[in-house]
């Protein structure tokens, strides 16, 4: 969702307080599937499974579907999205987690994928930026392993701005990476979760499930969900309470990567753009509200 610049609007078109309240209510809402506004997201995952890629694809399909539904009443809207998606992998990501396999891709993406193999992170970033600037692409998926020097805050900010300007969403899977500085609007950490047993063979692995944690977001409160793709749609269940194991896992993860937020000790304050929500504290207001207040006062 694009926030209109208030200066460009005529005086009468300025938001009334009720509108601002409504807007802030939508902004303050927790993340849920079916929001069309993801632009630049990062997914942190381990190299030992494909959970990061799986979640990125699921989120991408979810967002594209939501965007299509939002534009479906437009006369020029197309019935079916046939635009290509660009999938960029750097060398070590290919070595660790393999290449995408067409028969195993979600059906909507099978014939639409264009793969880019980059020798290093620098080339991968170049490919990501070129992809995000291309109007004929539905979205861009990137896989970069580790914390390469080229992928610093400046580079990620470049990606965010380009993606925002051209409206091509980007999901960047960070494989075995520490949570470094980034300007991604949504930052996820994901693990595989035990799947629900299928109906006909309870011994078999079921639909893919992921334990996803939204640990930093510009317009949403952080949270944890168990995400599943059920019948082609992304379904979010609130996190199951398993205090003992979760505490242990969180402790392990926070020892490895500093997790920001009130639920754990923030070791290093991260610079962020714009206001940031915290999950525990009172929600003061939305970004638009603050912006409006600041500009009026």
């Amino acid at each position: 969702m694009i926030v209109p610049s208030l200066d460009s609007l005529p005086e009468t078109a300025r938001l009334s307080s009720a509108d601002v309240a409504a807007l802030s209510a939508t902004r303050a809402a927790r993340w849920r599937p079916g929001l069309p506004d993801a632009v630049h997201s990062e997914v942190f995952a381990s190299a030992r499974d494909a959970s990061g890629t799986g979640l990125a694809l699921a989120l991408a399909l979810d967002t594209l579907e939501a965007r299509r539904a939002a534009q479906s009443d437009h006369p020029s809207a197309e019935k079916e999205d046939r635009r290509a998606i660009l999938w960029v992998q750097d060398k070590s990501a290919v070595r660790l987690t393999g290449r995408p396999y067409r028969p195993g891709l979600p059906e909507a993406l099978q014939g639409r994928m264009i793969h880019v193999y980059a020798e290093n992170a620098q080339d991968a970033l170049f490919a990501l930026e070129e992809g995000v600037r291309c109007r004929d692409l539905a979205c861009v998926i990137g896989e970069v392993s580790g914390n390469p020097r080229a992928l610093d805050f400046t580079a990620s900010r470049r990606l965010s701005l380009t993606a925002e300007r051209h409206g091509v969403p980007l999901w960047l899977v960070r494989i075995d990476a520490g949570r470094d500085l980034s300007s991604a609007r949504l930052r996820w950490a994901v693990r595989s979760a035990p799947s629900a047993p299928p109906r006909w063979n309870a011994q078999a692995p079921g639909d893919a499930a992921w334990a996803a944690e939204l640990f930093r977001a510009r317009t949403h409160a952080p949270g944890e969900w168990t995400l599943t793709q059920r019948g082609g749609a992304l379904v979010a269940d609130p996190k199951q309470r398993q205090p003992a194991t979760v505490g242990m896992r969180l402790g392990k993860m926070s020892a490895k990567f500093p997790i920001a937020g009130p639920s754990s000790l923030s070791v290093r304050p991260e610079p962020v753009e714009g206001p940031l929500f915290s999950s525990g504290g009172p929600l003061e207001g939305s970004a638009a509200l603050r912006q409006a207040q600041g500009e009026r006062g």
Binding site: D49, A50, G54, L57, L86, G98, Y101, Y117, D136
Partner: protein
Amino acid sequence: MRPESSLIPRRILSVWCAQLALDRWRTGQGCKPGEGADADPLALITETAHGPRIDVANAAGRAGGAHAGMMLADARTLCPQLRAVPGDPAGDRELLEKLAAWAMRWGPWSAMDPPDGLLVDITAVAHLFGGEKRLLADAAHHFTRRGLHVRLAVAPTAGAAWALSHYGPPHCILSAEDDIAERLADLPVAALRLDDDVLAVLRRLGLKTLRQITNVEDGETGRDAIQRRFRNRRNPAANPLIRMDQLTGRVPEPLLPVVPQAMPLAQRRLAEPIRHREALDHVLADLAADMVRDLEGRGQGARRLELGLWRVDGEVTVRALELAAAVRDADHICRLFAEKLDNIDAGFGIETMRLRASWAEPLAMAQGDIEAAAHGHGTSLAACIDRLTTRLGPRAVSRPVLHPSHLPERAQRWQAPLEPEPVQQHELRFHARPLKLLDRAEPISVLYATPDGYPRRFQWRGEIHEIVRVEGPERIAPEWWREKSTTRLRDYYRIEDTQGRRYWIYRHGLIGDGRGNDRNGGLPDWYVQGLCA
């Protein structure tokens, strides 16, 4: 005998370069006939399975006893000082192509008549040269100036013109009113452009001149007799009746005209050699603008571009560019070349630059300015792929396509992203496939209850996974039609471990299947090949 439909009678000029290969060799040596290197006996030869064979010999060589078609060894016994030079049929053909394009000065279109002839349509153009006689004299003069020995003839049909140029008197003109069959009756049957074996058959039948064939035809059942003998020959070169009809104009003979195609080309000769990148970029921008104007005039877009840089010391550097779609946009071309010009060694300076579109495709006048549009609307897919392939290499950008194979790693191939997809059969829906496939399946050590039962636990990359859910096995047999008989089958399992991580693993072989490394089979190996979402 002429076709009644055409009001203006057709006139064909046939040019026979009697010694094309030899003339071309002489031009290369820079000598006149019978002088310099040509004074000694010489033969142009072709290497065959039975040794070198003479294609053509010069006048001194012929006087010494060598003639075309002879083995070089035989000719050397007659003329020991005979010099052998390898012939160059490809070069001769290229020269003939150039001559065909050049011969359009005498008529609106011309056709090649390999290996050493040309046919020019001079219908209704002879008056521009002052009549057909003067046209022939003009053509003979120009060909002689190029150092080529030619025999020329003009006739209403291509067959008659060919026959006269090869077997008739020099500079022969057959007017439209003449009866072709009657005038050509004394020429040998070889004037019909027939294959050697057909000529041999005709010789054995006693048919030596065209008159004899015409007489047989005019008899009561003569034509039927020839028709019966050659009824299976559809090819005109193997059927004397078809050739005879073509000669007299009873059946039309289509000729394939040569259409010269000039590649779009832009060139700058620089007054001052350039050594700096800024100047190079500037000239490149000029060249690209010229190229785009040229392409626009033709209604084409470039698919492949070659930039040649001539240095002062004579070195030539060439940089080529392939584009994913036809492009006619100067900024886009400059931007892509800029990536390729980083490691140019200018030496003492570059004095000439040339941009050539060696592959162009039709492109309608629709496209706007990609670079300017990029700020507002983003680039097109083709432009995006061009930039990626220019920087990352042509193999870096690809699209997966299905390939008919049972083996998972062979079932997917990669092709260029904008190529049309081949027809393909999809995987069966009930085959669950992993989201990602490792480039090489990685060996794992597996704990199992029974050797051919479900796996219980496995170790991969130094970590132990406890398996809680299994589906399988899905047995994929080796493709016996392309693999060795000792290749083992694979049993695939989809598994999930305690933490919910899902993998696609397989057991390579069965116990006691007699395949594998030793004769007894040995224990099967386990591999992880795919990661499921």
